[in-house]
Amino acid sequence: MKKILSLLLACAMVLSLAACSGSPAAESANPNASSAGTESSAPSSNGGASSIAVCIASEPDTIDPALNSAVDGATLVSHLFSGLAKWAQDDSGNLVIVADAATELPEGVANADGTVTYTYTLKDGVTWSDGQAVTANDFVFAWNRAAGTDLAADYGYMFEVVDGYAAIWEMVKDEQGNDTDEFANPDATLNVKAIDDKTLEVTLANAVAYWDELLAFPAYFPVREDVVSDEAWATDPSTYVSNGPYTMTGWDHNSVITLEKNEHYHDADSILMDKIEFYLSDDQNNMLTNFQNGSWLLIDDVPTNEIANLKANYPDEFVVAGQIGTYYACWNVNENILPASSTLTGVEAEKAKAEIRNAMALLLDRNYIVEEIGQAGQVPASSFVAMGMTNPDGTQFYQTAGTSSDYDGYYDVSVDALEDNFAAAVEVLKKYYTYDEATGKFTDIPALTYLYNTSEGHKAIGEYIQAALSGVGVNMTLENQEWNTFLNTRKNGDYSMARNGWLADYNDPICFLDMWVTASGNNDIQYGKGDHKDLAMYNLDLTGLGYEDIKVENGTWAQTYDVLIATIKSCADDDTRYELMHMAEDMLMSTGCIVPLYFYTDIYMLNSSVDGFFSNPLGYKYFMYCTVSE
């Protein structure tokens, strides 16, 4: 009897093991079986060509245009609302910003005080989904709501460029000049007016190169006062009144959001897809199964360990698209990384640290990271401002960054350069640390900690950095923290080196550069704070660019970088502005505190029966012009 029992047990174990290990391979090695599934289930799930089922993410936190701060939410809102401008594809397939609710996107008129005024006329027949006309006042209301203190929206700062924004958020100062928690101008509003029902006039604090693009950003979409007076308006289809190509006809929380074509939309004839079902799932394997059996025609995420298989088995359906963002490691500028024996202090110490940090950045093989860890077509990065940002002449910003014409960015990250980089780094480190020729390692580099938030991918990159730096004798420990705690720790500067990443909000390098001004909430590196505050070691000379009074030698971070960013923000000339932005990045990179690793990509799977789909560099996806062939 015992024999039979043990035999059975053994069989069960073998079976379950075989089933487990066999499943992923079997799934991907059998594309034919999946496409057979597509055929059988496509008619029932798609109901013909005028409806499409997709999955871009799990339940959105909100689809209120002003409150949304997520990419998936922006996709939904872009289908539901019509702002003054929108993203579109031109005839040759290039992405452009075109007028939507506005008749056109006119140039601004410069005023004597440096402000710039834009006047927009609304198209005829622009109405809400309940039939009421959209008025210029709806925009005035929506913008003040989105930028205001009552809502305190994450993306309220997108209105920073509009005249009046600063006054809204000005706080009453106490005797020491610090902000209290009381607003100085509780009645302040943005400088935006409805001249009449169809004419909107907005004044910007100064010329802004990316203003048209901001108009296509969800926070700038109109909402109607009586609709949003109900705080729960955006959670229920019956109260969700919008003015875009679609209306929301159903929201089963955590299951599906259904959009149907809005016949009241002013350009309804151009909309090809009648119904879009956005399924909500946060499980990549579930998404993949639904894609493989043909239920969902686009999924915005796939299991990382399946990427290699999917690339091979779905060459036409596995898509790697550009996304403007950089994955990087950041140093805490105040972390002491000099050997205990070092006598350097103040400015001298900081100069040495900058040199050391830049040297250590050369020790990393970014190709290994993107090929072995990322696996999703990411691009090795050697600059902070991400790939996809362009100069005024259309060339890539990152390709013109840095000083060398031999490679893009600030160091050569090609595989061929690895050895030279390593040798150069060791030479620099020898200046500050004790080198043991026998082992090829430095013996007195202080122990470091790499902080990351819990995730297999971040962990793998941390382990790589740990291994790479141990090659020269760095003893680095990894510390993993839960997401929210991690953000807190990094913001407070309680780390030596940390994982970091930044995705662009709009297509302009300034959204990468202005996060490092002293007072920025994103200044995790702690520039201009703590010991770094008083280090007068940075130079800024803008006299050659028409700013005769801006010349600082040996200034602090606040006296140089902050001034430079403020200058960029008020600069109206594109060429000068981009030159200034390159200067700002040069300054950032010279500190060595930012260690760029790779530029993000957006991977998704799109069923080959879908035509007319496009996405923008910010990751928003557009289904309104899609058709599905049987």
Binding site: D61, M171, D179, E231, D252, D282, S295, N484, G521
Partner: protein, 312 residues
């Protein structure tokens, strides 16, 4: 029901309320002590925005005052407050909506687990050491030791990917067919556990003197089993079923993820990672109340099943 029993039940209810209060209080203060805030993200908001949000949700007040306000809201106004992360939704609406799915799924799964578990357990006990007993024990050992994420993925591969028999999703759009796999995944572990529990307890009962007496007196085999043995062997099962029900109807994060089931389980985790304090409190209270109530119910059921047990 005698007065002693009634007094006992009343005492238990009092204790239950005390338990829930302790859970609420501890959770509330632990939430405050944990680093982080609902208002942080990869992209930081300015201090002014954070201050405005804290004022909006009353988080600018002293912790003790927040605690008293919160208790007042839930006791006097039955108001669990707004969710901070899911802007525009109240905690109550999030919980009710999620519970609808989770309870439906959980009750079906619990029912299946209970019926199959008791039947298989009884069969195994009655056929002790026969081949059928061995088979049942091997299978249940496998199911008890296999975590649900493996079970769920396995079922998904077989029935969705390979055979294309069932939909991958447990949402309403898939209809009743969508519930099959999540229910099975949810039910397998408790079914296997109940089988083993029933078997061992049944074996224990079958060896008791009164069973032998009944048999000796010529009571028919089935009457011995159903009238005497089964009823008494269910006592440990009842102990297990109470908490099992509480866990199973509050949803399983794993099963919900794998099958995209719109239940409440996900919020137990996401509310904590997002520091959505009102939602953390809401989900914790629901789970605490359920467990306390289920324990109380199983205690009372003891009495029904076995009148010899006195509750005091």
């Amino acid at each position: 029901m005698n007065t002693k029993t009634l007094a006992y039940i009343l005492k238990r209810i009092g204790l239950a309320i005390l338990t829930v209060w302790v859970v609420v209080t501890v959770t509330f203060f632990v939430c405050q002590a944990v680093p982080g805030s609902p208002f942080v993200g990869e992209k930081a908001t300015s201090p002014a925005v954070t201050a405005a949000l804290e004022a909006k949700y009353g988080m600018d007040k002293p912790v003790l005052e927040q605690y008293i306000t919160y208790l007042g809201d839930i006791i006097l106004r039955h108001d669990f407050g707004p969710s901070i992360k899911l802007r525009g939704r109240t905690v109550a609406s999030v919980i009710v909506e999620g519970m609808k799915t989770s309870v439906k799924l959980g009750l079906i799964a619990a029912g299946i687990a209970l019926v199959t578990g008791v039947v298989l357990g009884a069969v195994a006990a009655l056929r002790r050491n026969k081949i059928i007993d061995r088979v049942i024990m091997v299978i249940t050992t496998a199911f008890v030791s296999m975590p649900s994420f493996i079970m769920g993925s396995l079922l998904m591969v077989v029935f969705v990917v390979k055979l294309s028999l069932l939909p991958a999703n447990g949402s309403a759009q898939s209809g009743p067919a969508g519930l099959v796999l999540p229910v099975i995944t949810l039910a397998l572990y408790p079914a296997a556990y109940i089988t083993r529990l029933t078997r061992s307890s049944m074996l224990d009962v079958l060896g008791q003197d009164y069973i032998r007496t009944a048999r000796a007196k010529g009571v028919s085999g089935w009457r011995v089993i159903f009238g005497h043995a089964l009823k008494n062997s269910l006592i440990p099962v009842i102990t297990y079923v109470g908490p099992m029900l509480a866990y199973i109807v509050t949803g399983s994060l794993v099963v919900e993820q794998i099958f995209a089931v719109p239940g409440i389980g996900r919020y137990f985790v996401s509310s904590i990672t997002g520091r959505d304090y009102p939602l953390i409190m809401g989900t914790t209270i629901v789970l605490a109340v359920l467990i306390v109530v289920m324990n109380l119910v199983s205690d009372i059921l003891y009495k029904v099943v076995d009148p010899r047990i006195t509750l005091e």
